[in-house]
């Protein structure tokens, strides 16, 4: 057993160095493919960051009746969280805060401010702004819960129905993006895997005569397969080392630029927090494709 493995390893390295052209070509294809898969991984990271950002901008607001005590509103805030665990965030906005936010949004609009002055008091209502995972059905549930609960008589109005169209549209867009991303990912990975498969097939096809000869002198299936599989592992490992260095360098270079476009998203941090998953993807993909292709292709010639 051990002798056979060490012999297979010896054969694998011999073939690897004797067919340098084939080895380089296969590794090159593998590198491209793994980089593609890695790109997909980062794309997924950016996309989920973006959809999260968009969904966080969407909320529904429950306006409380004028004069509701802040204490009561804070109790309601706790209770809402208890009713619906899917809620991501509930934020209390007092009358004063509402006025400040409004002023900031309408800076320089003299007419508006004069009109408010005429009213004499703060015309805004205290409110709770609620964010869920973006699903319109959940927002509707929240809205219904607020209006049928024991504290419903404190509430003046929930703006769900005014916002319903927007919520639905955004949810549709983000979930389409997600579905498209998954679909694209699957398609790309299938294409990538089949490109590698065919490259390795070419490499093994070269050895068709050899495999037949090995059969004739009585080599067992594993004795023949072994070197090809180990070669697959060597290809995968070398490609992984290159890919890892390339993606590290690319992330280091582009991370500041991406942070400019998407403030709050740090590609380098994303790279570091997902380091092991990434290593697993790159190494696993390379080696798995290398091994599986070798096994499938060699099997074809093991018929004799």
């Amino acid at each position: 057993m051990f002798t056979n493995i060490s012999r297979a390893t010896k054969f694998a390295f011999q073939d690897f160095f004797r067919n340098k052209g084939v080895s380089v070509a296969t590794i090159f294809i593998l590198i491209i493919t793994i980089l593609l898969v890695t790109g997909l991984f980062f794309f997924q990271g950016v996309a989920s960051y973006l959809t999260e950002e968009i969904q966080n901008k969407i909320d529904i607001t429950a306006y409380f009746k004028d004069g509701t005590a802040e204490q009561d509103i804070l109790i309601v805030k706790e209770e809402i969280l208890n009713i619906l665990p899917e809620i991501k965030k509930v934020e209390y906005i007092s009358q004063d805060q509402a006025f400040i936010i409004f002023s900031e949004n309408h800076q320089g609009d003299e007419v508006l401010f004069r009109a408010i002055e005429q009213v004499g008091s703060n015309p805004f209502l205290p409110s709770l702004s609620i964010t869920t995972n973006g699903d319109p059905l959940q927002y509707e549930q929240v809205a219904n819960a607020l209006q049928t609960s024991s504290f419903s008589d404190l509430i003046e109005n929930v703006d769900f129905y005014e916002k319903k169209d927007t919520i639905e549209k955004i949810y549709e867009i983000t979930s389409t993006i997600n579905k498209f991303g998954i679909f694209l990912g699957i398609v790309l990975i299938i294409i990538a895997a089949s490109v590698v498969f065919n490259t390795i097939k070419l490499a093994v096809d070269n050895s068709k005569e050899e495999i037949t000869t090995m059969r004739i002198v009585g080599a067992s299936d594993w004795f023949i397969r072994g070197p090809f599989i180990i070669q697959g592992i060597i290809y995968g490992f070398i490609a992984f080392v290159f890919c890892f260095l390339i993606s590290f360098a690319l992330v280091l270079l582009t991370s500041p630029k991406i942070s400019v476009i998407m403030p709050g998203f740090n590609l380098f941090d994303y790279f570091l927090t997902n380091l092991w998953i990434l290593v697993l993807i790159q190494l696993g993909f390379g080696i798995a494709v290398g091994i599986i292709s070798s096994i499938i292709v060699v099997k074809k010639y093991l018929k004799v």
């Binding site: 002798t3 056979n4 012999r7 011999q14 073939d15 004797r18 067919n19 050895s207 005569e209 050899e210 037949t212 000869t213 090995m214 059969r215 004739i216 002198v217 009585g218 080599a219 067992s220 299936d221 004795f223 004799v304």
Partner: protein, 226 residues
């Protein structure tokens, strides 16, 4: 040791290459199977090795019906046969030395012994100086000698030689035949398939004559008569 029982071989979309072939080869025999090219000699070799299955009839190797032998049994049989093939069947990506050592590695022989045996046989067959060359760097005759070296290195109890002298000059031809006789005297069974008239007439051993896929003669001290 080897028995053909009413073997007929028909390749797909072809007429019968071997027709109703029956013979038996006993342990320690030296048997020549002769016939013109196309008579079915190589097909016969492939049947013994389990590389082809008979269309009708049965092939036995040491009482074992090749049709019912499983993969590992067939592999064992092949490892025990010293095969010399008409088209050499060398491993093009391996050197002379590695081509010979490969069959020992397949058998699981220890590394130290492999080195000893390979060097011995390369010396015997006259390829010591070429041991680091690849098959494509050898002449036809050298390739044939390499194929012979590979067959001999395992000290086989049975040798099947399909036209082992096809590419050799008369001097080397007699060297090889002499070698086969010597190995036979030491106890191995030898099956020689050839269309070389002179060799057969000099040997004075059992000869099976194939014509058009049929055995027309099987004589204990045969001559080349077709």
């Amino acid at each position: 040791m080897i028995k053909f029982d009413k073997v007929t071989k028909i390749y797909p979309s072809n007429t019968a290459v071997l027709k109703d072939v029956t013979f038996e080869i006993k342990e320690g025999e030296f048997v020549s199977i002769i016939g013109k090219s196309g008579a079915g000699k190589t097909t016969l070799t492939r049947l013994i090795l389990g590389l082809e299955e008979p269309t009708y009839g049965e092939v036995y190797f040491k009482e074992k019906n090749m049709l019912v032998a499983d993969a590992s049994e067939i592999q064992k049989i092949r490892r025990s046969i010293g095969g010399i093939y008409q088209d050499y069947k060398l491993l093009p990506a391996k050197t002379v030395y590695e081509n010979v050592s490969y069959v020992l590695e397949v058998k699981g022989t220890a590394q130290g012994e492999i080195k000893k045996e390979v060097e011995k046989v390369l010396d015997l067959i006259g390829l010591k100086d070429k041991k680091d060359n690849f098959p494509k760097e050898l002449s036809g005759g050298e390739q044939q000698r390499l194929a012979i070296a590979r067959a001999l290195v395992i000290h086989p109890k049975i040798i099947i030689a399909d036209e082992p002298t096809g590419n050799l000059d008369p001097y080397n031809t007699y060297e090889v035949i002499y070698l086969l006789e010597k190995i036979n005297k030491a106890g191995a069974t030898v099956i020689l398939l050839t269309h070389n008239r002179e060799i057969i007439n000099k040997l004075g051993k059992r000869v099976i004559t194939l014509v058009g896929g049929r055995i027309i003669r099987d004589e204990a001290e045969g001559r080349f008569i077709i």
